[in-house]
Amino acid sequence: MTVLPGSRSERRESKGAPAPGARSRRLGLWYVLEHHIRDLRSYGFVTVAQAVGTPFLSWLAFGVGVGALVQAGTGGAGVGGVPYLAFVLPALMCGLTLQVWAEDAMFGTLLGVMWRRTFIAMRAAPLTVPQIAGGFVASIALRAGITAILYALVAWLAGAFSSPWAWASVLAALLGAAAFGLPLGAYAARIERDTGQFALVNRFIVIPLTLFSGTMFPLEVLPIWLQPIGWISPLWHASELARATAYGPTGPGWLYLVHVVVLLAAIVVGWVLVVRGLRRRLEK
């Protein structure tokens, strides 16, 4: 019972002493991330099981099942010059990473502003909204990153990732996931009442994106009027980048630059909207 606001002397502001909250001003984002990492520990097993289990199931389905059919149908040529499994795994990795980010962005935001109100608690401390948003996004990137790395590792062990640049497919997956997840988080920050919006987002945005983003077959196979879904889909841009890094580019170099620029643009806009959405929520 001795420390309670007793010893005031140490706190008295003297000339030259740092302003109150100076450390939080510099390191606030890290403190927020530290909190989220503690929370993440209880999802650790799920994250690992999902990241390792999903590519294994994909291997069974697309390597042994559908893959055998495709290999036979193409006379053993595969798709895009590689076996079907090698074609499909980089894109499926991007899809899973995107799903993990989307889930965390949506539920994490609602937990923070509405259900557990942990963001409101943070805002009552000397933390700022960009720090709260930044630490939160960093924690999502961490979980999504672990997912992508483990997935890539399993795919590599399965022999699907042949290029020495294959490790960079993890970055492609993260770029795609962030380009979709940040704007989704901004939307979640505006939800005043949970009426099952996430199920809708999942059914009508995430799943169609997965189906029409050139994930399981090249986008060019689709009729031209369906291809624009792919063009606006972060998943398509990310998958193309992931494939190029996993087994080598199949298109002109400028096209890959376009993929990167589109994803970065969506990330920048998404970040601005996330901060704005959380400001409205936490500073009212």
Partner: protein
């Protein structure tokens, strides 16, 4: 307010508007260091909105505000670094244990791990939650969660502790434990600002308070001073049954300084309640029940607003 001491909170003409709702209309007050200051008012009076502005969370729509000598609009983080906040709605992280909640919160203030760990253990003791250190938040009672939230608010050794309805929803025993903890803080010199709609809480804890309604200050003073100023020493409460209360109030109107007919009872304000009761009986009005008590802040509020604090 003691003379010559710079106030830690200075609010003048404070105002907050949400769209067409005026949540806080015109509120002015000062709080001296070490003082326990209360905002007493009914639901929707604007207490929480005022507290969020004092906590440098919500920007004011008008007026001026200075917390610890700083403007919350420009130096929010510097102010918040020196505050402890107990919000109306608990916002503990249910994913973490009681102790972990204290630790992550302490880190927000930039305190080293060793310091937050030591303070967390000390504060768990202060909140009488030593044996709950590892407990999940969902396994704590309402009173324990409130105590943990207060402990969390103290982790940065704040200069001002803001408490928004610290005991609402708790049973009497839990409230008394909490009051005891707040008394200790007060003894140690922490400035307390608290909102409540319990008059007994305001009387117990506050050196000085404002009565707020519809975002405006209805009265300001010490609990005893307010009662002296706005009410009589004693109150006679008599019940005649819901049909006869209004009629009785008219017939007894001359007996006290003031007579207040409520749906379920009649209040007669007088210096000596027993004398009034004798006169009521002499006039042939035979109440179902009668009670003489001292005036409280509830009576002050009724006098000022014509309404009860708790509907």
């Amino acid at each position: 307010m003691p003379n010559g001491v710079a106030p830690v909170i200075r609010a003048a003409g404070l105002r907050k508007v949400y769209g067409s709702t005026v949540a806080v209309d015109d509120v002015s007050f000062e709080v001296a260091p070490g003082e326990a200051f209360g905002l007493l008012g009914p639901n929707g009076a604007g207490k929480s909105t005022t507290m969020r502005m004092l906590g440098a969370v919500s920007a004011r729509s008008g007026g001026s505000l200075e917390i610890l000598g700083r403007d919350p609009d420009r130096q929010g983080p510097e102010i918040r670094a020196q505050l402890g906040v107990v919000p109306q709605l608990d916002n503990l992280d249910t994913e973490l244990s009681a102790r972990e909640n204290l630790i992550v919160y302490g880190r927000y203030f930039g305190l080293p791990h060793a310091v937050v760990a030591a303070r967390a253990d000390e504060l768990l003791g202060f909140a009488q939650l030593e044996d709950k250190a590892k407990a999940a938040i969902d396994d704590l009672s309402g009173g324990m969660k409130r105590r943990l939230t207060i402990a969390r608010a103290l982790i940065n050794e704040p200069r001002i502790l803001l408490l928004d309805e610290p005991t609402t929803g708790l049973d009497p025993q839990a409230r008394h434990i909490l009051w005891d903890r707040l008394f200790r803080l007060k003894e140690q010199g922490t400035t307390l600002v608290l909102t409540t709609h319990y008059m007994d809480e305001a009387e117990q804890l506050c050196d000085r308070l404002i009565v707020v309604d519809h975002g405006r200050i209805m009265a300001e003073g010490t609990p005893a001073g307010l009662i002296r100023e706005h009410s009589t020493r004693e109150v006679l409460e008599v019940r005649f049954g819901s049909e006869r209360n209004a009629e009785a109030a008219v017939a007894l109107a001359d007996l006290g300084e003031r007579v207040e007919p409520l749906p379920d009872r009649v209040l007669v304000y007088a210096e000596n309640g027993e004398h009034v009761l004798a006169e009521v009986l002499r006039r042939g009005w035979d109440p179902v029940t009668s009670l003489v008590r001292r005036s409280s802040l509830e009576d002050v509020f009724l006098r000022l607003t014509g309404r009860s604090l708790i509907e």
